[in-house]
């Protein structure tokens, strides 16, 4: 009969005893384990702190911004910028941000996913390729203002005939370069998460590499790639620093250069830049406007995220 003296609860069973009461006592163990509870409470506290910070920030913004929105209503969203606080609106910011987003999507997603597909599916595991991957990871960590300088030199100056200089196209391309490494990394991870057995199955029935990727790997990785795209959008919407260097205007600009196509070819701004600009105005009424604009920015962010998630879920259900 095995000795059961190491029951851990301090109850030592007499060898040979399987009496019910002995077993029960052993199974009950210690009623109260202090250590577990303490850890649980500590973890709860960390959660509270994190949430608390968020609540305070949002609360501050809400207190200042909601009255403005209540007072001005949709007028706030449809009027252009002005030096007079009660006339200023975020219309140009919204338009600018959306235009930038579109350009980022057009350039960063296909390039990023394509690069990821090449790296994961085609490239052999050579030293050169490992070096490439490391560099991509490093690029993701470069401060975005550096990309602003890059954008200024290449997109604004060097490619002026194509981009028109200090336009939203230059801004969009700059942002695209900022987020490109992130797209590559998340897409790579999504592709790597597809089990190799799927690829082998495809090859096993006589498919070429591209057929396997197109029909099986990409569809499987799509949710992950979409998630990466959502992350990208979130990052792009919030970027301010590089845009400052490539032409997003801070001040008031003429009502003539307004509207979608106007901002495309001419001077432009974005929501975060507008917020930054307003926050530096001496007039104290602009503080509340800043808060209101922040609320609008967050609303745009949430809408874009929600749209992307809905699209992702729809695709997931299809197959």
């Amino acid at each position: 009969m095995a000795r059961r003296s190491d029951l851990g609860s301090g109850v030592v069973a007499i060898p040979g005893t399987t009496a019910t009461h002995v077993v029960r006592a052993a199974l009950r163990g210690k009623r109260f384990r202090v250590g577990d509870y303490v850890v649980q409470i500590l973890l709860l506290m960390t959660l509270m702190i994190a949430l608390g910070v968020l609540v305070v920030l949002l609360g501050n913004v809400a207190i200042r911004g909601v009255p403005v929105l209540e007072q001005r209503g949709t007028n706030f969203l449809t009027t252009t910028n002005s030096t007079l606080p009660f006339l200023a609106g975020v219309k140009q910011g919204i338009i600018g941000s959306l235009e930038l987003l579109v350009i980022v999507l057009i350039f960063a997603i296909p390039l990023g996913v394509g690069a990821a597909v090449y790296l994961e599916e085609y490239a052999k595991d050579t030293r050169l390729n490992r070096l490439l991957v490391t560099n991509v990871r490093n690029l993701a960590g470069v401060p975005s203002i550096v990309y602003g300088i890059l954008g200024l030199i290449i997109f604004v100056e060097f490619l002026k005939p194509l981009t028109g200089g200090l336009t939203v196209i230059s801004g969009g391309l700059t942002l695209a370069v900022v987020v490109l490494p992130i797209v590559i990394i998340t897409s790579s991870e999504a592709l790597r998460a597809v089990p190799n057995s799927i690829r082998e199955a495809g090859f096993g029935v006589g498919a070429t590499r591209w057929e396997v990727i197109r029909s099986h790997v990409l569809p499987s990785a799509a949710p992950g790639i979409f998630t990466g795209a959502i992350l990208t959008l979130a990052r792009a919407i919030g970027e301010t620093a590089p845009l400052l260097l490539v032409g997003a205007l801070l001040g008031f600009f003429a009502p003539g250069n307004v509207g979608f196509w106007g901002q495309l070819r001419g001077p432009y701004t974005s929501l975060p830049t507008l917020i930054f600009s307003w926050s530096t105005q001496p007039n104290p009424d602009f503080r509340n406007l800043t808060a209101a604009a922040i609320i609008v920015l967050m609303a745009v962010l949430l809408t874009v995220n929600a749209a992307a998630i809905v699209l992702r879920n729809r695709y997931e259900r299809k197959w």
Binding site: I198, A201, F203, G204, V205, G206, S215, P219
Partner: protein, 297 residues
């Protein structure tokens, strides 16, 4: 490619009509006389096959012939090269960086590794079923239809899907739910689906890499029954760890072992290749004897 016009027209491969041959291979069983098994023609001729990964030799001195419409089993302990050799037969080793194959490997007389041979075409004629069932995360119908579609199949896909599933003894169980996801099937059903998927591109040979390793005993027996039926239309080569399975179903068995070099490096090789009843009643090599009786220490 080859002189024979056969290989030019994918997707269907014209095989010699089974009824033309003088041997009738209806229902397999131990009652077939040995002479019948001897007369069958070769599908694969393997001579002095050697495989290395990244310069390190993994398998050497493999020579054996695979006969048409027979089940050939590759048995032996782990790491002795059975799967490596199997994967050479349909050029799946091409997908591994640094894999090198030397020696002669002929398929119906054609050297599979000569210049100009397209591995994609090879894999359409020599299909593979893997150890863990790996259906595509799509519907049952799409799983089967994928192969023929990319091969350019122009006929009635619904019929082809039904025929493939019927041959894989799965049609009755799934006929009402072809559009549901393949991943909802049980393990045994998934494996039969993989067999159906393999059959749908109308191969000549089916390679099986421990197909029953992850299945329960009943599912295993169902797959074995299926193999009995399939072998009248296809040639089957199976790698298995289960000696009794090899004994039950195969016509010929090749026993692999590992040879350890002086520097500790391990290389797989074939020790004995013979009719299955010989291997299991009167093996010639003592290493084979030790392995099949379980005295292998």
């Amino acid at each position: 490619m080859s002189e024979s016009g056969e290989y030019m027209d994918a997707p269907t491969v014209t095989r010699s009509d089974p009824s033309e041959r003088s041997i009738h291979l209806e229902r397999r069983g131990r009652e077939r006389p040995e002479e019948v098994l001897e007369d069958a023609s070769f599908v694969f001729e393997i001579k002095d096959l050697e495989v290395s990964y990244g310069g390190v030799q993994a398998v050497r001195n493999v020579s054996l012939n695979v006969y048409e419409n027979q089940i050939t089993a590759l048995i032996g302990p782990s790491g002795c090269g059975k799967t490596t050799v199997l994967r050479c037969l349909n050029r799946m080793n091409d997908l591994i960086d640094g894999a090198r194959v030397e020696g002669t490997l002929r398929y119906h007389g054609v050297d599979l590794y000569e210049a100009g041979i397209d591995p994609v075409e090879v894999r359409r004629r020599i299909g593979m079923v893997f150890q863990k069932p790996n259906p595509f995360p799509k519907s049952i119908y799409d799983n089967i239809a994928f192969g023929p579609k990319i091969a350019g199949f122009k006929g009635n896909m619904g019929d082809l899907v039904e025929e493939s599933l019927t041959r894989a003894a799965l049609w009755d169980e799934v006929k009402g739910k072809l559009k549901t996801s393949a991943t909802e099937l049980s393990g045994g059903q998934q494996q039969r689906l993989c067999i159906a998927r393999c059959i749908a591109v109308q191969p000549d040979v089916i390679l099986m890499d421990e197909p029953c390793a992850s299945l329960d005993p009943i599912a295993t027996l169902k797959i074995e029954e299926l193999m009995y039926q399939l072998v009248s239309h296809y040639t089957i080569v199976i790698v298995t760890h289960n000696m009794q399975q090899a004994a039950r179903i195969s016509d010929r068995t090749a026993f692999f072992t590992v040879e350890v070099e002086d520097d500790g490096h391990r290389v797989g090789t074939v020790v004995e290749y013979d009719l299955t009843d010989h291997i299991f009643t009167n093996p010639k090599d003592p290493r084979t004897e030790d392995y099949v009786t379980g005295r292998f220490g």
